[in-house]
């Protein structure tokens, strides 16, 4: 890979290290900002910020029921910049979820997950799940009302899984209720196990990116290559500086939320899961747990892990949305499923009371299968329409299915987050 015409100067140690992450010369299209938006790099940067702020927080945090909340109060009120460090950690964690999700979407829609990149998609998905796990375990640590009831709600969702649900939930909690054991479990996971796993998996992830030849690009006859120093590294340094600056400004203005100390005898109204899990909670309001906690999450999980391995006929690797037709299908299916999900939520809340109308039936039929079909049937119709009318091929159709899943989850999440008030009732 070394190019003879490059200058004779021996690179410094830092340069040599960076050259293990990057090649010496790189396709000029790969470093265009709009190719990757730097999302993977920003996620890695956020991980570093989270580690540093987390290590600082670890000096003052006490992981016991009696002291956790007070130690946070002491940090906020008595330590210099204590509040700032905590807010920085909080904001980085929120950004980490958003940015790594956008990174996932970016690699998917730019068709960069197939063939030699398929294995890396799997590692990426595992890390996405770990991002949720890390955020969720961190959620409990302040031991305030928000933390306590969010974790209660989520571990209660786990209990709906048949056969293993109860014992799995008890293992996560270290008992039948969220208590000091849960706090200790989450603390060890959050500050020990998950960060170590992240470092290992990030190493594999980066290495596989290089092994696949870097960022996926459309086929082209002539390739223009430029040096990584300074072309790419300069952009990385600038992005880092901007991200850090934005986070610092935000952390100075926004304070990480802290409610009153956790009280197991009084649930706040409404009790909501952490925002990124709210789509799941919304689903549980409308569908019988057999569907909402078992069949749908399982099917969606298998679908996403199998995504690179379906039999595609017309892959254009590195091309955004595969083709112009793909772009149209994605935009249409995103809009359609968002609007349709929204309307269906509204109808199920106010007009369609299958549990009352069909009270004689078994509840997994009346509140499970029927609303499920009510959603799946029109969506399947839309897929058939695209296939017939627009001659959409396998790649575009799978892209439509992925878009529908993501778009309706985001819709449910937003409805649950913004439009549900007291008693988890819609505010309109």
């Amino acid at each position: 890979m070394a190019n003879k015409e490059s200058d004779k100067r021996t690179p410094s140690t830092i340069e040599k290290f960076l050259l293990h992450l990057h090649p010496q010369r790189i396709d000029v299209r790969a470093i265009k900002f709009t190719r990757t938006f730097g999302l993977g790099g920003i996620s890695a940067l956020l991980f570093v910020i989270l580690c540093l702020t987390g290590l600082l927080l670890r000096f003052s945090y006490v992981p016991t029921v009696a002291d956790a909340y007070d130690s946070i109060l002491a940090l906020e009120n008595k330590s210099i910049f204590g509040k700032f460090i905590r807010s920085l950690h909080y904001l980085s964690a929120v950004s980490m979820i958003i940015i790594s999700f956008l990174h996932l979407i970016r690699v998917y829609y730019s068709q960069s997950i197939f063939k030699k990149r398929a294995e890396n998609w799997i590692y990426g998905l595992i890390m996405m799940l770990m991002v949720f796990a890390a955020s969720f375990t961190g959620y409990l640590l302040p031991w305030d009302q928000l933390a306590y009831w969010a974790v209660t709600v989520i571990t209660q969702i786990i209990e709906y899984i048949p056969l293993i649900g109860h014992s799995f939930a008890n293992t996560v909690r270290g008992g039948t209720e969220v208590n000091g054991n849960t706090l200790l479990n989450f603390y060890s996971l959050h500050t020990g196990i998950l960060p170590i796993l992240f470092i290992v998996l990030m190493g594999i992830h980066f290495w596989l990116v290089r092994k696949a030849g870097g960022v996926a690009l459309p086929q082209q006859e002539e390739k223009v290559k430029v040096k990584v120093f300074p072309n790419l590294v300069w952009k990385e340094v600038m992005t880092t500086a901007i991200v850090v600056a934005v986070l610092f400004v935000l952390a100075a203005v926004i304070t990480a939320p802290l409610l009153e100390q956790a009280n197991p005898h009084n649930s706040p109204n409404p009790s909501k899961a952490p925002w990124y899990f709210l789509g799941a909670q919304e689903l549980l309001l409308h569908l019988h747990p057999v569907f909402s906690a078992v069949i749908i999450p399982l099917a969606a999980g298998i679908y996403f892990f199998a995504l690179p391995y379906f039999r595609y006929t017309n892959l254009n690797i590195g091309v955004w949305f595969n083709s112009n037709k793909g772009k149209r299908v994605v935009v249409q299916s995103a809009t359609l499923s968002f609007v349709f999900t929204f309307i269906l939520i509204y109808l199920l809340e106010h007009f369609l009371h299958f549990d009352i109308w069909l009270s004689g039936w078994h509840s997994w039929l009346s509140t499970g299968l029927i609303p499920f079909i009510l959603y799946v049937a029109p969506v399947t119709g839309a897929l058939l329409y695209w296939r017939k009318k627009h001659m959409a091929q396998v790649t575009e159709l799978f892209m439509a299915i992925t878009t529908i899943i993501l778009s309706s989850y985001i819709c449910m999440m937003l409805v649950s987050l913004l439009l549900r008030g007291e008693g988890m009732l819609l505010i309109f």
Binding site: W149, T152, V153, T155, Q156, I157, N170, T171, V172, G174, G175, T176, E177, N181, N185, P264, H265, N266, S267, P268, N269, P270, S271, Q281, L284, L285, H288, P289, D355, S363, T367, E422, G423, M424, L425
Partner: protein, 153 residues
């Protein structure tokens, strides 16, 4: 595939080590032996002191003690069976309402309106020398209410 002794032994060792590691981690995480060592029953006091057709919340024990018209006692968990919020005692109907997701239960803890799918869990009651003891470590799940769940003084 040919049977290979070395491969077999290697895999056996890995398998045994994984099982050992699994149990070490599982026991560590679930901390199962912390609480089950000694079992303490919750003493709610004299049975006679409870009026019929009234609900007595025992928040520290995480249950409602209810005495019905015929004098039977039922101890129901305060945890909503939907997502584990603490249900409120509805004084008008004698039933229970969940503040989180609007589930409603009747005075026997049975579901009146979804999203909850099963009645409130109960705790076993024993009555000795006129005093009520409730085993709060053992929540009993049920499908519906029937008379056999009541305990009489």
């Amino acid at each position: 595939m040919k049977f290979n002794r070395r491969k077999f032994i290697k895999r056996l060792i890995v398998a045994i080590a994984s099982i050992e590691a699994f149990f070490l981690i599982k026991e560590g995480i679930s901390k199962s032996d912390n609480s089950s060592g000694k079992k303490e029953l919750f003493n709610a006091g004299k049975a006679d002191s409870f009026e019929t057709n009234k609900t007595y919340p025992f928040l520290t024990g995480h249950f409602f003690l209810k005495r019905y018209d015929d004098g039977g006692f039922l101890a129901m968990s305060i945890k909503c069976t939907h997502l584990g919020c603490v249900v409120n005692n509805n004084i008008k109907t004698g039933g229970f309402n969940c503040p989180c997701h609007a589930s409603q239960f009747n005075k026997y803890g049975e579901v009146l309106s979804a999203p909850a799918t099963r009645p409130l869990d109960t705790f076993p009651i024993t009555i000795e020398n006129g005093e009520i003891f409730i085993d709060t470590n053992k929540a009993v799940k049920r499908k519906e209410f029937n008379k056999s769940q009541l305990t009489y003084a």
